[in-house]
């Protein structure tokens, strides 16, 4: 500090910290932090050659889901992986929304923390640049010493829909998803970004005890001139659902899932595919397919089940997966549709049989599968691949049937025919396997979440009767077009 005497006044020149200095420094620091933070981010992804003799780590960090991808199945297999390889799996499981945020946040900053990451299909188009391409791994014998990838054992549709993407045009579907051939895949300019694990498809289920009730069978046959059976077609479905709709007995025909959420979009696209429309809803050339005449007809039928035929329980227009499950398992409906096994409530005396969802022109139940992927920024990519390969292998998936895993391999569906962990759910695995072979996935859009929302709003609006199906789908189409343009897609 320097003091200057001017007359009677002592002026002090402070060369220490002043309030003004502090605030200016703070602003400068705040504005410079974006620049500084970028340079302090974790190491950029490596593009080194595969290291066949990479040092085995003591542990691998795995980021996983919870019930959505059956984390109990993974937990069941972790001790075996340790026994096989000596590597600990440090498992971090998160519920869906938190998982998505964590996956994106970790991969956005190229964090090497997680070696193996579970990825859901709607996320993959935005993540292809952050996941390690595996075509070089699955064909490298030295890296397949722990287990055989046996790619041809995966259900083809599931494999291509889940794991095969074009790195420079992630919106494209693989042109010929028949026969899994790595050379053919890479020859078309595509890559493999993971190995499928938990495969979900929409399946129907019905109360066998109600369908086999002698009085009901006689009454139905008398009314409709055919035997009472689970309907093969959507036209038959209406008759059967109406037959079992008895509000005075607190019984309704079927559940549906038109509540606000992805489940409503999935219900709609199942019917869209059945009506002969493009179940992907948006084509590879960004043509909108959901507001087609088939889409309008499908949604009209869907809404009619609720508003005209009234075969659904009260409040169905707010139903999610969980609400639909609760309605069926509590005995409120004779038919249900969902993505997993069901167990009737203790006070409901009945039996469940599973069936394919009905068809119209064809069948195209919605399906979506998780995959285990290798983080491109992982410091242990070779061993992370070995882990993903091992956890998705046939023997491991067979063991995971004990935790009701939904397998992605044909051999496991064969094993499920005699595995008591599977047979205790009746014909569920048989129907799931068949459904996966027919299934239709989602469009590959980096902003699928936003597109999904507009479509479910349309489905819900039609279901509640606040808009006609045509108005609802057209309104959604206008918004989706804008969303695709915002995402940088060349929409005509």
């Amino acid at each position: 500090m320097k003091n200057t005497q001017i007359g009677d006044v002592t002026q002090t020149e402070s060369k220490g910290v002043t309030r003004r200095h502090l605030m200016m420094s703070a602003v400068a620091m705040g504005l410079s932090l974006p620049v500084l933070s970028k340079s302090s981010v974790s190491a950029a992804p490596r593009t080194a050659l595969l290291r066949q003799d990479a040092e085995k780590p003591a542990s691998l960090n795995m980021l996983y889901a919870t019930v959505e991808a059956d984390v109990e199945a993974i937990k069941l297999a972790i001790p075996d992986f340790k026994a096989e390889t000596g590597i600990d799996i440090v498992l971090d499981s998160q519920p869906y929304d938190a998982l998505q945020q964590k996956v994106f946040a970790e991969l956005a900053v190229d964090s090497p923390y997680y070696d193996v990451i579970i990825v859901d299909t709607p996320w993959t188009p935005a993540l292809t640049g952050k996941l390690e391409p595996l075509s070089g791994y699955v064909t490298n014998e030295a890296l397949n010493d722990v287990s055989d990838p046996a790619l041809d054992d995966f259900i083809e549709k599931v494999f291509f829909d889940t794991a095969v993407y074009n790195p420079t045009a992630s919106h494209l579907q693989f042109p010929d998803p028949t026969g899994i051939d790595v050379e053919a895949i890479t020859g078309e300019g595509f890559e493999i970004y993971g190995l499928p694990l938990q495969a979900n498809a929409l399946v129907a289920m019905y109360r066998t005890d109600l369908f086999e009730n002698a009085d009901d069978m006689a009454a139905f046959e008398s009314e409709h001139g055919r035997a009472l059976a689970f309907p093969e077609t959507w036209d038959e479905f209406t008759d059967v659902a109406k037959f079992f709709t008895r509000p005075d007995q607190n019984l309704y025909g079927t559940t549906l899932m038109p509540g606000n959420g992805d489940w409503a979009t999935d219900d709609f696209k199942t019917l869209l595919a059945a009506w002969g429309g493009n179940g992907y809803m948006v084509s590879d050339d960004f043509t909108l397919a959901f507001n087609s005449p088939e889409g309008v007809d499908a949604l009209t039928y869907y809404a009619s089940l609720i508003n005209e035929h009234k075969v659904t329980p009260p409040g169905v227009t707010s139903f999610s997966w969980d609400d639909a499950s609760a309605a069926f398992t509590s005995g409120l409906t004779a038919i249900g549709m969902n993505y997993h096994t069901e167990v009737l409530a203790p006070d409901v005396q009945g039996n469940i049989t599973y069936a394919l969802v009905p068809e119209k022109e064809t069948r195209g139940p919605h399906f979506g599968t998780w995959m285990l992927s290798v983080n491109k920024a992982s410091q242990n990519k070779e061993w992370a691949y070995r882990a993903a390969n091992w956890f998705t292998s046939g023997p491991t998936q067979t063991k995971m049937l004990a935790a009701q895993l939904h397998p992605s391999r044909k051999s496991v569906y064969e094993a499920a025919k005699t595995d008591e962990n599977a047979t205790k759910f009746g014909n569920f695995y048989d129907i799931l396997g068949q459904s996966l072979a027919l299934g239709v996935g989602r469009p590959r859009l980096t902003n699928y979440g936003a597109v999904d929302k507009e479509i479910w709003v349309a489905v819900n609006s039609a279901a509640t009767g606040s808009m006609t199906p045509e108005e609802a789908l057209q309104s959604a189409a206008d918004k989706v077009k804008g969303l695709l343009q915002e995402a940088g897609y060349p929409v005509s």
Binding site: V17, G30, A126, G129, N460
Partner: protein, 298 residues
């Protein structure tokens, strides 16, 4: 030797520097970063490709019908919920303000709804209002008020009723407790003097009690309004913004944009626009509420 004033100032500033650093990191920097992001087309997954687009994000807010609708329903929700909470809270406060053991016990119980996590309360509310199993429909049918089950979450009007009723159940006690404190702090002399002059009942309350209570009303309304504008978990769990977009408040839109679409730029612009709106609203509220009331005394 006693430190000079300048030395004390320097030492003081040095001692607060860590706190200022934390403040910068946790508040100032994120705010500045959001402002920066709001002028860009910025997606979390492509941070290196965030071109400057000027006011395009803000223009989109002004022209997007769904966003304008979200803002409107947010305001209507706040007005309705806070209005009802104020009326019921005042009623409760008047009933529980007189000091007695039973009133003290009741006041303690009032705290319970506020102690429940909003998400948990929304989950419970959802079950209570379930048209097939919920207690609400069951008892309404038992007492003969309705004969057909009401699908509370399938209709915009009943959905809003469900949302607002939950907010009222949970936060009316908050308003009541503030007003109770105010009532208990009012000196008895003005009321006694007015009573001597013949004032009673409603006249006594409106002309004597309420003006003295006004600062506490202002505090309660201001705090509840700010909190109500931050509502998120309740509506996310109860309705998910539906049916359709009828209960899609702006916070849901910001959440989806930021944490599901990862459009950081668009979400930042929504957040800042909302902040600007609140920055204009709150001083106006303070001016109106503080009229003829002394918030400092309160």
């Amino acid at each position: 030797m006693k430190p000079t004033r300048e030395q004390s100032n320097g030492l003081g500033w040095a001692l607060v520097t860590p706190a200022v650093g934390v403040l910068l990191l946790m508040t100032i920097f994120p705010a500045l970063y959001l402002l920066w992001a709001s002028f860009r087309r910025f997606n979390l997954m492509t941070p290196d490709n965030a071109p400057f687009i000027g006011l395009e994000n803000y223009r989109n807010i002004a022209t997007n019908g769904d966003i304008r609708y979200s803002m409107l329903v947010t305001i209507l929700f706040v007005v309705a919920a806070v209005g009802i909470e104020l009326a019921l809270g005042l009623l409760l406060a008047l009933m529980l303000a007189p000091k007695s053991r039973s009133n003290a016990a009741a006041a303690t119980l009032l705290i319970l709804p506020m102690a429940v996590t909003p998400v948990v309360s929304a989950l419970v509310w959802r079950e209570l209002f379930n048209p097939n199993y919920g207690w609400v429909n069951y008892y309404l049918r038992q007492i003969g008020i309705m004969h057909e089950p009401i699908a509370w979450l399938s209709n915009p009007q009943t959905s809003w009723f469900t949302v607002i009723s939950l907010d009222v159940w949970q936060w009316t006690p908050f308003v009541a407790l503030i007003l109770m404190a105010g009532l208990q702090g009012i000196p008895p002399e003005p009321r006694e003097a007015a009573a001597v002059d013949g004032a009673e009942g409603w006249r006594l309350f409106w002309d004597v009690t309420f003006p003295l209570l006004r600062p506490f009303v202002a505090i309660a309304v201001l705090l509840r309004t700010l909190e109500a504008f931050k509502t998120f978990g309740t509506i996310r769990v109860l309705t998910g913004g539906g049916p359709g977009i009828s209960t899609e408040i702006i916070n849901l839109t910001i959440y989806r944009t930021a944490l599901q679409d990862f459009s950081v730029g668009a979400a930042a612009s929504l957040g800042i626009a909302f902040l600007v709106f609140l920055s204009i609203l709150v001083p106006q509220m303070l001016r109106i509420l503080a009229r003829n009331s002394d918030l400092v005394e309160a």
